[in-house]
């Protein structure tokens, strides 16, 4: 696949036109010769890997950064933005990935914050603001109640409030930065319905994402960014997700498939009857079983979960996020107390062990949120190597930290796991997400673990790092590692797992054979629709 652009003719007049945009940071070119033409009334997707330069481009378009070269045209006339206020005045609105709402204010207060309508000079004119919010909400089918407290709203509703906020300020062109990252599948569908209404009413949407299926579902046009420059503009009707991914990466795609089985009959992890009550439910009887708790009307985060993982086996847990996966992982790691059930590792009952003892006993852990749980961002890489292994060789000798040993082993991880870094003394925060994750994988694989708990091991990492992490998981599995894999990426789950279980509202509701299941079937099992089909 070359760099040749597959361009579709666009008949309508462009709402946004970028020509030759280049942005340099000291030592780095973040954007280079970007050309982008967004038709009015279209949902235009901009796709690219993490670090490809999407965010920089959007910051330029929103006036947060100024391009070194190039031209921005809005509705045909050249503009120059110095601040976001200029961009807003030109009708551009930005919905950030992380919501910027004050929880303790109402929707109305959040929307007008910073552009309060005045009445008689000083007083805020809530009446007219409420009326305007209702009008916008009705016109675009957003269904937002201006008097609801933001803290009572779900993620999908909050996002609609964010959209309403920019519409309230008169935006005609909306930039949505990874809007689906925080949403569950049905919320994504709702968002897409909202977006379709918005464009039908004449708005233009720039949709930034690296989730290709979603892009193909919703976009009218797609532009691919790679290494800071636009490499192709494609028509979503004429391109497959695979093709699009290859354009993003610039090479053939890796695949998560592992087919020849390495499963043995030696049990590594056995979980039986694991039950965890919602701590919000108040105190519950100690040692009460799942049935007793259920009968008492206690909401269970984990409901009587049992499974085994053998040496050399990857067990995948599929499920919509928030159905107990995080609690399951934390229960097995000993980070959260359980109400009933046992966990045993290689025949030893570890239910009462501390997290440290479990780690020492041979559990490696790739946490879901690497920034919160996996790294000390402002500590050098070699100190991060010690994290979680602070009682073991080669990091310590007795009560002393063995600096030389830890540094040497960090160097080994950097080389073996291809962590791209100028050295082991830089802070973890300075590395890209993919390289941070490779460091974590390397660390958790060291010390020959018997069990690896991998929670979203390739989330938010680029395709190259993803392939490398998959390779390491496959190799370790072949060498006899048992893996508990939790992922939202269904292809990853199906491709890597030897067996698959579906979790729904804290219960294992289905066993699925990864050799025969399709992502669609798995997806419907995850929402509870296919409980009996599996």
């Amino acid at each position: 696949m070359g760099e040749a652009a597959i361009t579709t003719a666009i008949a309508t007049e462009p709402a946004v036109e970028l020509k030759g945009i280049t942005k340099r940071f000291p030592g780095v070119v973040a954007n280079r010769d970007i050309c982008l033409s967004v038709a009015k009334g279209h949902i235009h997707a901009v796709v690219g890997e993490n670090g490809a330069g999407k965010s920089t481009l959007m910051k330029i378009l929103y006036g947060m950064q100024r391009p070194d070269e190039g031209e921005i045209r809005i509705d045909g006339s050249a503009v120059s933005f110095h601040t976001p206020a200029d961009a807003i005045a030109a009708g551009i609105g930005m919905v950030h990935q992380h919501f910027m709402l004050a929880d303790n204010l109402t929707v109305l207060e959040n929307v007008i914050l910073g552009s309060e309508p005045r009445k008689g000079g000083l007083a805020i004119d809530f009446g007219s603001a409420r009326k305007k919010i209702r009008e916008i909400s009705d016109a675009y089918g957003l269904g937002v109640d201006p008097d609801a407290l933001v803290e009572d709203l779900g993620v999908g509703d909050r996002q609609r409030v964010e959209i309403l906020k920019v519409l309230y300020r008169g935006a005609r062109i909306l930039i949505l930065d990874e809007p689906t990252a925080v949403l569950v599948p049905h919320e994504v569908d709702e968002l897409f319905d909202n977006l379709r209404v918005l464009v039908r009413e004449g708005l233009t949407i720039l949709f930034i994402s690296h989730k290709l299926d979603e892009v193909l579902k919703v976009a009218d046009a797609i532009t691919v960014i790679r290494r800071g420059t636009t490499v192709a503009s494609v028509d979503p009707r004429e391109v497959t997700a695979r093709k699009l991914a290859e354009l993003m990466v610039g090479s053939e795609l890796p695949s998560p498939e592992t087919r020849e089985s390495t499963v043995t009959d030696v049990v590594t992890l056995e979980v039986s009857g694991l039950t965890m009550a919602d701590p919000g439910a108040g105190p519950v009887a100690k040692g009460a079983s799942a049935e007793e708790l259920r009968a008492a009307g206690v909401r269970l985060l984990l409901d009587d979960i049992s499974f085994t993982i053998h040496k050399g086996e990857v067990l995948g847990i599929a499920g919509v996020e928030g159905n107990g996966q995080a609690e399951l992982v934390e229960a097995i790691m000993g980070m959260r107390p359980i109400n009933a059930g046992t966990v045993s590792l290689a025949g030893a009952d570890i239910t009462g062990w501390s997290t440290l003892k479990r780690r020492e006993g041979g559990i490696g852990f790739i946490p879901e949120d690497r920034h919160r749980h996996g790294l000390l961002l402002e500590a050098p890489l070699w100190e991060n190597r010690i994290l979680g292994h602070q009682t073991r060789e080669p990091n310590v000798k007795g009560i002393w930290i063995d600096r030389a040993g830890a540094r040497k082993d960090t160097q080994r991880i950097v080389e073996e796991y291809d962590v791209r870094t100028p050295g082991i003394d830089v802070d973890a925060a300075a590395l890209s997400g993919g390289n941070q994750q490779k460091l974590i994988v390397g660390r958790e694989m060291s010390g020959e673990p018997a069990l690896l708990i991998a929670s979203h091991p390739t989330r938010g990492v680029d395709v190259g790092a993803q392939a490398a992490i998959w390779d390491h998981l496959r190799n370790a599995r072949a060498a006899g590692l048992a893996v508990l894999l939790i992922s939202a990426d269904l292809d990853e789950l199906i491709g890597l797992s030897d067996s698959l279980k579906v979790i729904l509202r804290g219960r294992i509701v289905a066993d699925v054979d990864p050799a025969s299941v399709t992502p669609e079937q798995l997806g419907s099992a995850m929402t509870g629709a296919g409980e009996e089909t599996a």
């Binding site: 280079r32 670090g51 790679r226 790691m333 780690r359 996996g374 500590a379 930290i401 791209r420 100028p422």
Partner: protein, 375 residues
């Protein structure tokens, strides 16, 4: 990314030249602000600073500076142990005062002869400090009480408790109108050496204790497993939990160690100066320690320099009155130093983060040409 509080309390490190440049700039800036204040008040800044330095370099004041700095430094180390793991031990003040009172009472009783008695005094002080600080740790772990609130309240309680204990029918002994604990026998006084020529005043042996504590602090924090767990908890509690650090135990041990060092703060005065706890016993050293820990960014050497600077300003400020300048001028100076050092560290920190990210992407991009970058 780290929050402002993390950087304020120095859990985010600065390396190389930055660590030196920021405080030096802050001190220079504070000098400028003080000069402006002096000019407004109609005094000559040159005269004032010359007087301060002249006074500060007399042998007698040098000894005073060294002895005062020892207590300041111990207080700063006590605060810094908490800072390194995200605990704001504001209670050093109450911890050392209560510790000094009880230790003075035990010492005054003369249970043991000679040097054994002084060791007993120190031991009691360390234990009392550790126990008093552990209350805040326990409250935090079991009840989720912020240690900021509990240590402030424990300070007030310590004040009340020392006042109650220091009465004639309890630990106090009336001597004329003054009340204090029974003086510690002379054979248990801390030794001192007339090191500085030109004055018979002795440099107290607690200077050595302070140096040893400083070295121990650096080694404990940077070279041991305990220190690693403590720093990891300070940098990211969720990451520490996921790594198997027992955060609750760590909170209690850190508070206890912090309190133990706090217990030493009153010792240079008790065993090297007053030999009894009376109403004149210096108060407020715990707060001085917070300022010096901030100034020195929890670094042992940095805090030593900070303690010397503070002791210099305090010890030589009296001389300003010769020029009819209020000696409270040095308080203005100390305040401005702390404020500007915080601002300077923050600016340097922001610069350093951006510089590090650019450096990494530059070094990685160099072989691959213009590889993408996340902004």
């Amino acid at each position: 990314m780290s929050g402002f509080m993390e950087r304020l309390t120095g859990r985010v490190k600065l390396d190389g030249v930055f660590a030196v440049v920021a405080p030096v700039l802050a001190v220079v800036f504070a000098g400028l602000v003080t000069s402006v204040v002096l000019l407004i008040a109609g005094n000559s800044p040159v005269d004032a600073f010359t007087t301060l330095i002249d006074q500060g370099s007399t042998p007698r004041i040098i000894v005073l500076i060294l002895n005062t700095a020892a207590a300041y430094f111990l207080s700063a180390v006590a605060v810094a142990i908490g800072f390194r793991m995200n605990l704001f031990n504001i209670g050093v003040d109450g911890q050392y005062r209560l510790a000094a009172l009880l230790a003075a009472a035990v010492g005054g009783a003369g249970l043991l002869p000679g040097v054994l008695n002084s060791l007993l005094v120190v031991l009691v002080a360390v234990l009392v400090g550790a126990l008093w600080a552990s209350i805040a740790g326990l409250l935090k772990v079991t009840r989720g009480v912020s240690e900021v609130i509990s240590t402030i309240m424990l300070n007030a309680i310590a004040t009340g408790l020392t006042g109650w204990l220091l009465t004639a029918d309890r630990l106090g002994v009336l001597n004329g109108n003054a009340i204090g604990t029974k003086p510690i026998p002379e054979d248990a006084h801390a030794p001192g050496w007339a090191l500085i020529p030109g004055t018979p005043m002795e440099v107290n042996s607690f200077l050595v204790v302070a140096i040893v504590v400083g070295i121990g602090y650096a080694v404990l924090l940077n070279r041991t497993r305990f220190g690693f767990g403590l720093r990891a908890t300070g940098r990211s509690e969720p990451a520490a939990v996921a790594s198997g650090v027992n955060v609750k135990r760590m909170v209690i041990s850190a508070m206890a160690v912090s309190g133990a060092v706090a217990g030493l703060v009153g010792m240079p005065e008790l065993l090297g100066g007053s030999y009894q706890y009376s109403l004149n016993f210096p108060a407020g050293l715990g707060f001085t320690g917070i300022a010096i820990a901030l100034l020195g960014r929890n670094n042992a050497v940095g805090m030593a320099i900070g303690a010397l600077l503070w002791a210099f300003l305090d010890s030589s400020s009296n001389a300003l009155q010769i020029l009819h300048i209020s000696k409270e001028l040095v308080d203005i100076m100390k305040g401005v130093i702390v404020l500007s050092v915080i601002i300077a560290y923050e600016l340097v920190h922001r610069y350093r983060i951006v510089a590090a990210q650019h450096r990494v992407s530059r070094e990685l991009a160099a072989p691959a040409g213009t590889e993408g970058a996340a902004a």
